[in-house]
Symmetry: C2
Subunit: 343 residues, 2 copies
Amino acid sequence: MSSSRATLIQVAERAGVSLASTSRALHGTGASQKMVDRVRAAAAELGYSPDAIGRSLRMKRTFQVAFAVADIGNPVYVEMLTAIHEVLAPHGYRVVVMSTGHTVASTVDLVRSLGSGFVDGLIVSPLRTDDALVDAIREAPVPVVVIGRSLEQQGIDSVSTDSAAGLGQAVAHLLEIGRRRIGFVNGPLDTTPGAARQRGFDAATSGPAFTGDHAETERADDFTVAAGLAAARRLLSRTPAAGPFDAVVAANDLLAIGVVRAARELGLSVPGALAVTGMDDTEIGRVFQPSLTSVSLGSAERGAAAARLVLDRVDDGAEPAQQIAIGPRLFVRESTAQEESAR
Amino acid sequence: MSSSRATLIQVAERAGVSLASTSRALHGTGASQKMVDRVRAAAAELGYSPDAIGRSLRMKRTFQVAFAVADIGNPVYVEMLTAIHEVLAPHGYRVVVMSTGHTVASTVDLVRSLGSGFVDGLIVSPLRTDDALVDAIREAPVPVVVIGRSLEQQGIDSVSTDSAAGLGQAVAHLLEIGRRRIGFVNGPLDTTPGAARQRGFDAATSGPAFTGDHAETERADDFTVAAGLAAARRLLSRTPAAGPFDAVVAANDLLAIGVVRAARELGLSVPGALAVTGMDDTEIGRVFQPSLTSVSLGSAERGAAAARLVLDRVDDGAEPAQQIAIGPRLFVRESTAQEESAR
DNA sequence: CCCATCACCGGAAACGTTTCCAGTGTGCAT
DNA sequence: ATGCACACTGGAAACGTTTCCGGTGATGGG
């Protein structure tokens, strides 16, 4: 920590020119070459670097964007964060990480806090949504982009994915490899992803398209490995009339890992006795043993798209709200491999 | 996005009092109860919320702290980030995530950029360090805390851990369970952790304390699963004169996962034929199959300690530099279990 | 009744920057 | 030679807040 920093006024004095010219010279527009050289030299001698706060106050731009999620420990959000960072950094924007908390009320508080104007925009991926949150977002003083469900009706920018369809892909894949008694380990139903995925599972396992014999859901308290393990123990301890489960769809990769661990406890081989699918296509699932068949929801793409959306909005504010959808994509790996040899 | 926000001046006008009194009333000191009520009411009517930029300009405090790492995807850094966030948020501080880049030069640039004063402090965990970086940190205009190696001589606040000793613990544990031919998969030697861990391995496997028969190092290009897999393939394809490897120490959990995968490729059971240890005690290692024996370096504690250090420094600047050390701790899990049955 | 003390209030400055506006000088064309 | 366009410069205002400082009124003690 050295002495206090040089200010633009000091640079101006040192260069013997006006404050206005100094600013112009450094900023690059409407200054003669001689002026630029002179000011640059003075700035270099003093080790000047422009003060972000002063600049922000005047320009009404902070060059910061907030990214808010409930749990930054979830690898999905880490992937989003990385992608957001990669899009924003080249444009000179910093990323502020915030926590939404786990309730919708705390998320509303967070959105309201944007009123203090410390960021130019917000990217938020709320687990739960309600009208109060929608209102708060609509009235927010800076652009807000929601990653999660589509909010077209509400006139809010959003980047969504069709996780219900993704669940359909997982179920279809399991049927295709000959599994007939399918369990579903979902997260809390009152969350946006939990609700959507339940819808997807129910749709995929009802009606004529479902060629299996049995479908049943067990709910975990949370989208974590531990919760998945507990839920899978409950699910697999039951034996449906049609016979024991031969496949489990998990609502995300962490839950799927819990399911695999539960299967091992019960002596069920994966994928031999029990095929398991995850969702989110995370790094952890890819390196797990067995590597997890998983439905990618394009976390990185969604993050990047949201970041680009914020960038657009910051420049020209009032276009109609945009909805971007990233299609789900199934990646088949060892946890549903057909050949037993692959274990 | 609604209309522009109310300013303190407008609140003052509405309340019919001076700007100074308005500020005092809201801030809480030296104002009569009547004044406070009146101003609060006016503020509420206008939906006033104080502007963070204006306040920062005046107070010379941004209430932001930056956390900079090379790769936010690494679970260790995510744990640190979470811990930092948890310590800082209750004090009203926001966390800005930054990337150091992979070279020491880009890290120096980042530290220099603190000159623009957008944060009150920096927590940085550099992979590589040199004199230029040390100088830059020492001359930084805001407090900087380094997570990594101790920089006591340099007079820089740091939170370190003795990863060399941690490696010793891992080797000792492997010897204790009867392994004698120990391989070491390390990351790049020119990184701070890579160098320290090599030192630890070399110390633990030379001299009279080493009761094994063979010790050998293979270097991975990076601290990732893929690099660990490649390095382990190279290592395990060799057979020392003393006999095939019966244990591998990996320099972190990601590398260890790569090692386990390589072992499986070669038909070596873990821990039966090959015991494997990791380092960092990450969530991913705990849920992996087999769960990884790992040396915890207290990522979360180190993050929290660094955050508290920054908080102290921000308030009273010029105490002597502090060094905090977190001791390594071995957690034994399946990947080095002695009973074969645990597989 | 007068003076000292005290609590409180308002004016004004300051933080560091960008940008509007008016003014100066140069060069070119008529 | 004179006018005009043009490039550049400097003064000053503005962004929103906190805080110093002087001043006012009330209150209590002598």
